[in-house]
Each structure stands twice: as structure tokens, then as C-alpha cells.
Symmetry: C2
Subunit: 346 residues, 2 copies
DNA sequence: ATGAAAGCGCTAACAA
DNA sequence: TTGTTAGCGCTTTCAT
């Protein structure tokens, strides 16, 4: 087995107290005025005896684990995978581990996972929630467990949160399309209907169209359940083309939706952007070199991760967070590629 | 704060011993012949007082954490992201959390991470290693820490491991291409040069070509360093086409490489499969509907994850693993799509 | 069928 | 400048 030697062992073999050793180990030697040479002696012995602190004992004693939880709908989604990677890096550089949890957009599962992590005494959590309102998190905040919501947030919530300008991004997409004279739009979203990012994107898009006097016909506002995206998109797109009534442009609200639409549009031999232009929310590596390459609203994944981690760390370290930094909203970019440029109209 | 009530509290308020409560909580009531009604009483009280066991204390006492580590080169790579998701599901269903670590193919970082996790007393680890040989893992195995290697393994190693028939997959790819009369091949790999999967793929491919009397010119065996894939692929492909000496087919050894080649082939306006056919190792969602769709050797990600987790669980539970199940090799499939079918030649 | 008590390895008042 | 001591909350012999 490993780590057989304990702090007590090294104290004894040195003829000093455990306190002394503990202090030195935790770098509090100077602060407590322990003689330099004594410190050296201790450090030396530690090396010599190959001592490994028992992190469990320490965690138990202090109630900390140096672990944070990351909760998202699906870690294998490119967006969250990249977020995870970024957060993992920050965490690692600060001595933290990150445990991942995928909720599959199931509210009960998410709650269970959060409770579980809380029981496990993670030091904090970063959460992209699937819940419908902030009540659960208001409680969490009240309980004092450090956490920050990312991506999906609620207005006026107590928890720290970092999101993206979804409304603004959607408006950019709409304006870009409108400028080309496009008037017939379809929006492809996921359900459930309470996901803030999705709703903000729809809202921003519809609003901008509205200002141009345009409405999206209900049948062209697609809501595909999270776990049935493929099927629903397929059926809907087929029906569009069977009925012969076809939108001029589609706005797909996440990378999965974009990919899936691309897939079935290809199967239906619909040419992009001629027959239908398409712009998606959230960029993905390969959108840059597909034929046609696909236009997107791009989210600043690095920034989201960085801000979230910083906000979390502050809470863990009991630093106060200025009110105005409590809720950060990051800007997005529009990346215009081939899929959204109508050849004739512009 | 949370979990203020302790086991002692509920014992006291019930006028029984901590032992009793502990036994009941851990389902050892019957085994120790504790009266049914007493057990009920305890359970009742637990609910009433809203008792939450302190997992840290328990873990400390028992030396377990109900956590497993997952170590891969990069969690944001689609292949590993999907592995992670699968393992997370298995883990969750068995009461385990999984902490993720990305090594960036840096051996020292990987070792550090493994040591770190070991200190943290994770109950086991699943590792896709970047190391050059099995010595580190032989030690790990000797230390008794449950672990299983996935994806990349070493011959004759002591650790349990699950991999894929890389040689076989490469042979499939080679045969498929050869059958079409193709004779000029390029292979695109990553470095470092000791990654078993990559080497097996190269070996299988070269061997099969060799049997047909064909060799890969050294200049067409590309080795792109893990962190410079984009740059190296770009430069190499450019030089191919500048010099005018062009392979008829490319075999790209992981999904990243495949994507990157696709990207620069597109930029160079090289038509696939006419000018160059391409087949990749490892499937990715969008390969199915790009234009052209891209042929691949597909790995059974679900199976890899499942086998790995089972093997790990057995070790954690101290069950013995039959020698023949110690090292599992899973079959791969070839998925022939458009990118590898030469229109003229076949 | 139940309880007493020891102790896992560490930290932190409080003493000295 | 260093040591004593008392736990943190839980599990587990060993008694009874």
C-alpha cells in the first residue's frame, strides 16, 4: 500500500510535535515563527521517509476536497466538451480536480447530481442547468455552497452566473439574413421550452424580424426534444420539401441542431445556400471547411470558462464579488461563411 | 451550513449507540441481527432529522472515495468526449463520480496527474496513456491501485487493458483501397512515435501494402506533433500539391487528422475522392453527411467504455479477473462512404 | 440484540 | 519557538 507513513511518524522520528510538522507542511512555518533550520529538518525528513499527506484525512478535518463539480446536459456535446477542457485546465492550475456530470436535460437527474456532489463536499460547482427557474439555486446560494451558473441562467437570480449575449447574437443573425432580402424564415430549436439560451435566441431573432414586419409561421418554428433531435428534424424537413413550401433561411439554435439540419438537408439534396440559407448558433471546428462552410454566431468558450472559474474561486476563497461582476454577459461574434449568403439576392 | 446533524446526534436522540445506527445505515442491520423494529425506528429518525452522512468522514475512515479518475490526452477530442460520457453513465449508475484529466500527450503531466489522483485516493482509474512503455503501470499495478488502460496499451503488461484491433482496422482500410487499383499512398499520423494505436495502424497498413508489393514513400508518411497538427498538415499538403507529386489515397489515423486533412484539401480545392481518396480511423458524426461523406474505420466506443468500466469495477471489488479477460481487444468496422471510392478506377 | 471505546490522520486552539 | 490536547464523524473490534 501507499502512504503508510503518517505525519505522526515523521514527528516522532524527529522528536518534534505533530503541530510543528503540520505547520511546516502547510507553509505556515514562517507565519508561526518556526526556526528556519527546524523547517529544513522537517522537509528533509519528509523527503527521506517519502511521506505523502493523507488528503482524505485533511479533507475530512477541514471539510474541503479540492474538487469542483461541472454539471452540463451532455459532456460529449462539443460545446460542453470544450468548456470542460478549459475549466479542467484552470482547475488543474489551481490544484483542483473536476468531476463531470451529464444531466441529459433531466431536471430530476440534475438535482440528484447536485445533491450528490454536495454530499461529497465538492468545494464548488459550475452548472449549465436544465431547470425551469432559479428556486433550486436560490436555496443552493442560501446554503453557502459556492457555485456559478453558466450558459443558461435566470434573471435576477442570487447565484453568480456567466452567460452570453444570446439576444444580441440572434439579432445579428437576423439582420444578416434580412439584409439580403430574405423574408421567409425558419427557426430550429430544442425543447423543453424553458431553456433560457434557446428562448433568448428565439426572442432576439423574432424581435428583429418583427421590426422588419416579418413573422415566423408557427409551422416553421421547430422544437425538437433534446433526445429526439435527429428524428424530429428529419421529419420536419421532409415535410417542408414535400409540401413544397420552403423557408429561404434557417436559424439553428445550437451546434447539434445545425449539424442535424445539414445532415438531412444533404439527404434531401437541398442546396445551401441557394434553396435555403443557414446560420447556426455556436461554432464548431468543421463548420469552417464543409461545403458550403457554415455561418455561425460564435460563443467565446474560453472566456465563459475563465470567468466562471474565477467567479467560483472567489466564492471558495470567500472573497466578495462586486455586485456588477456577479452576473457577467459576454459578447458573441457573427462569422459569415458560405451557407448564409444567397448568391442571387445580395 | 449543511449536514449539521451527525450520526451521533441521531444515536443520542434515540437513546441507542452509534454502532447501531451505523450498522443500520450501511444495511448491515440484518446481518448483525438487529431487531426489525429498531431498524425502522432508526431509519425513521434519520428521515425526521434530515440526516446526511458525512461522506468525507466515511471515506477517511474506510479509505475510499467512490470516485474514479479518467485520464486521456484531451477530453475535448470527440473520441474521448464520448468515452467520457459513456464511462460517466456507468459510473453514475454504480454510485461513482468521475474526475477527468487531460494530459495533452505530455508524459510528465500524465504521471503527475496519476500521482495526484492516487494521493486523492480515487478508487480506480481508466487511462488512455501517452507513455512510452508499461513500466509506470507495472508499478501502479504492483501498488494495488485498480486501473485499466484503454485505447493505448502495451504488450504483455500487467495492468488490465482494453483496446481495439488497430492492425486489423488498418488492414481493412488498405485492402479497400488496394482493391480499387490504388498504388500511391500517404499516411497521416501524429507524433510522438511511441503511441501504440498509431503504430499499430501504420504497421497494419504498411504490411498489407507490402503484401501487394507497395511501399509508402517516406515523404508521404506524415507525422504531425499532437499540438501542431493543423500547421504541419497544412504545410505538408501544400508541398504535395506544389511539387505536383500527389498520392492517390490518404489514410488518416484519427478523427482530428481526418478533419484537418479535409480542411486543407478543401482549401487547396483538391477534389475528393477523384484526385485523392481518403479514409480515416475513428468515426465522427458529421463524416456521414459531409460532401463527400467520409469513409472510416469505426471504433466501438460504447463497448470500450463498458468493458473498461467492468474491468475496473472488478478490481475495485477485489474480484479476480480471468487471465483471458485481462486484456480485451475489440473488433472494428469499416464504413465505406464516398470519400474513398475512386470513380474511374473501381 | 446492543453498546463502549478506540482510532483513522490531520489541524488548531491553547499552553508553555 | 515549540508542544499538548482535543476533536472532526465515522466504522469496528470486542464486550455484554
Amino acid at each position: 500500500m501507499s502512504g503508510k507513513v503518517t505525519l505522526a511518524d515523521i514527528a516522532k522520528s524527529l522528536g518534534v510535535s505533530k503541530t510543528l510538522v503540520s505547520l511546516v507542511i502547510n507553509g505556515k512555518g514562517d507565519a508561526h515563527g518556526i526556526r528556519k533550520e527546524t523547517q529544513e529538518k522537517v522537509l528533509e525528513k519528509i523527503r527521506e521517509m517519502n511521506y505523502e499527506p493523507n488528503v482524505l484525512a485533511r479533507g475530512f478535518r477541514m471539510g474541503i476536497t479540492n474538487t469542483i463539480g461541472l454539471i452540463v446536459s451532455d459532456i460529449s456535446n462539443r460545446f460542453y466538451a470544450r468548456i470542460a477542457r478549459n475549466i479542467e485546465d484552470f482547475a488543474w492550475n489551481h490544484g483542483y480536480n473536476v468531476v463531470i456530470c451529464s444531466t441529459d436535460e433531466i431536471i430530476e437527474k440534475e438535482k440528484e447530481q447536485i445533491r450528490f456532489l454536495k454530499e461529497r463536499k465538492v468545494d464548488g460547482m459550475i452548472i449549465s442547468t436544465s431547470q425551469e427557474n432559479s428556486s433550486f439555486f436560490d436555496e443552493l446560494a442560501a446554503s453557502g455552497l459556492p457555485h456559478v451558473l453558466i450558459d443558461r441562467t435566470f434573471k435576477g437570480m442570487k447565484s453568480a452566473n456567466v452567460s452570453v449575449d444570446n439576444v444580441g447574437g440572434a439579432r445579428m443573425a437576423a439582420r444578416h439574413l434580412l439584409k439580403q432580402g430574405i423574408r421567409k424564415f425558419s427557426v430550429v430549436a430544442i425543447s423543453p421550452d424553458h431553456i433560457s439560451t434557446i428562448n433568448d435566441r428565439i426572442m432576439g431573432f423574432e424581435k428583429t424580424l418583427m421590426e422588419a414586419g416579418i413573422k415566423i409561421p408557427p409551422k416553421w418554428l421547430i422544437r425538437a426534444p433534446f433526445d429526439k433531435i435527429d428524428e424530429v428534424v428529419r421529419v420536419k424537413l421532409q415535410s417542408f420539401y414535400q409540401e413544397g413550401d420552403i423557408p429561404e433561411a434557417m436559424f439553428t439554435l445550437n451546434n447539434n441542431l445545425t449539424s442535424t439540419c445539414l445532415k438531412y438537408l444533404a439527404k434531401l439534396s437541398v442546396s445551401i445556400p441557394d434553396e435555403v440559407a443557414i446560420i447556426g448558433f455556436d461554432d464548431v471546428f468543421y463548420f469552417g471547411f464543409t461545403k458550403p462552410s457554415v455561418s455561425v454566431i460564435k460563443q467565446p468558450i474560453d472566456l465563459i470558462s475563465e470567468q466562471a472559474f474565477k467567479l467560483l474561486l472567489k466564492q471558495i476563497n470567500k472573497e466578495s464579488i462586486a455586485k456588477k461582476h456577479h452576473s457577467v454577459v459576454l459578447p458573441v461574434d457573427i462569422i459569415i461563411r458560405e451557407s448564409s449568403i444567397k448568391p442571387s439576392k445580395s
